[in-house]
């Protein structure tokens, strides 16, 4: 599987994503600067976590206007896989490649801790190595991860099995509607989540629950 990680000004989990991809795929991902208007030939594009543009104005708003996002959109339109993590999720909603918006956490505080997630949907290239209903722990680290969409959109997401990750009951760290932690686009080739799978691929760092996500992609895209 060939992959690329997009780097926006003040992305800061770009290295973490690259390290995880390299250790699991054996290949160094391409690092793509936000001003590039073309992507290299890759199977997967990752929009990493961080504070693109300092999270100023709205998280992900300015990054969504960058040249590279037009290329990412074209890649997705051709059926290429896109994974957004944390700030990457915010960028994808701002670009309207995913529905809804990520608002300030309900208690207004930045939160960093491991959370329990349930795998809702395994019919996806991102989660086929997990079992339906499986419980995993990924860390979250964000101030604005409170997923919001109107009721109609939420119903549609659920009806089309596009809710991939849900915070386990009682462990919703940000007030997200219907405990939603990660969703798919309609075509099911773009997925984003607030928790950080790339931070749980090494037993020393608090677990390996994130490996399944990358393995799923490798298996499908290689």
């Amino acid at each position: 599987m060939k992959s690329a990680v997009v780097v926006f000004p003040a992305s800061n989990c770009d290295r973490d994503a690259a390290v995880a991809l390299q250790s699991l795929t054996g290949k160094k991902p391409h690092m793509v600067w936000h001003q590039e208007s073309h992507l290299p030939e890759v199977d997967l594009v990752v929009l990493p976590g961080g504070f693109s543009y300092g999270d100023y104005l709205r998280c992900g708003a300015m990054a969504s206007q960058s040249a590279v996002m037009r290329a990412v959109k074209a890649h997705a339109d051709k059926g290429g896989a896109v994974l957004g993590i944390c700030n990457g999720f915010q960028v994808l909603t701002e670009t309207h490649m995913l529905p809804g918006a990520l608002m300030r956490n309900a208690d207004l505080k930045f939160v960093c801790r491991p959370v329990a997630l349930e795998i809702e949907e395994t019919q996806s290239l991102f989660t086929r190595k997990y079992e339906k209903g499986q419980r995993v722990h990924f860390p979250v680290a964000h101030g604005e991860g409170n997923y919001f969409a109107d009721e109609e959109t939420l119903d549609r997401l659920e009806g089309e099995n596009r809710v991939v990750f849900r915070y386990a009951d009682g462990d919703n760290p940000n007030g997200s509607a219907r405990n939603i932690a990660g969703i798919l686009n309609e075509r099911r080739n773009v997925m984003a989540l607030m928790p950080h799978p790339e931070r749980v691929v090494d037993p020393l760092l608090g677990g390996t629950d994130g490996v399944g996500l990358f393995q799923s992609l490798i298996e499908t895209l290689s």
Binding site: L57, P99, M103, L108
Partner: protein, 80 residues
């Protein structure tokens, strides 16, 4: 020309910040405070003297960047 843009949450979109402020104000003894909503105000210096053009351009800025129209609405005010 100076312009002021208001970006506020649409009705029906939950506003955790506004809620927290209302709560804190009540806690501080401001019992008369009911609903509170928080938004942004963006003041822009614009090198454009034609009001209609300025307005069109500001609207474009709002749609493209300043507001996320999924959750927010905006108002534009031109000054002097």
């Amino acid at each position: 020309m100076k312009a002021r843009v208001f970006v506020t949450l649409k009705n029906g979109v939950l506003d955790p910040q506004g809620k927290a402020i209302g709560h804190a104000l009540n806690g501080l003894g401001f019992g008369a405070v009911g609903e509170v909503r928080q938004g942004k105000v963006i003041d822009i210096d614009l090198a454009e003297s034609d009001a209609a053009k300025a307005k069109a351009s500001l609207k474009d800025m709002c749609e493209k960047l300043l507001a996320n129209t999924v959750i927010e609405k905006y108002e534009i005010e031109l000054k002097a």
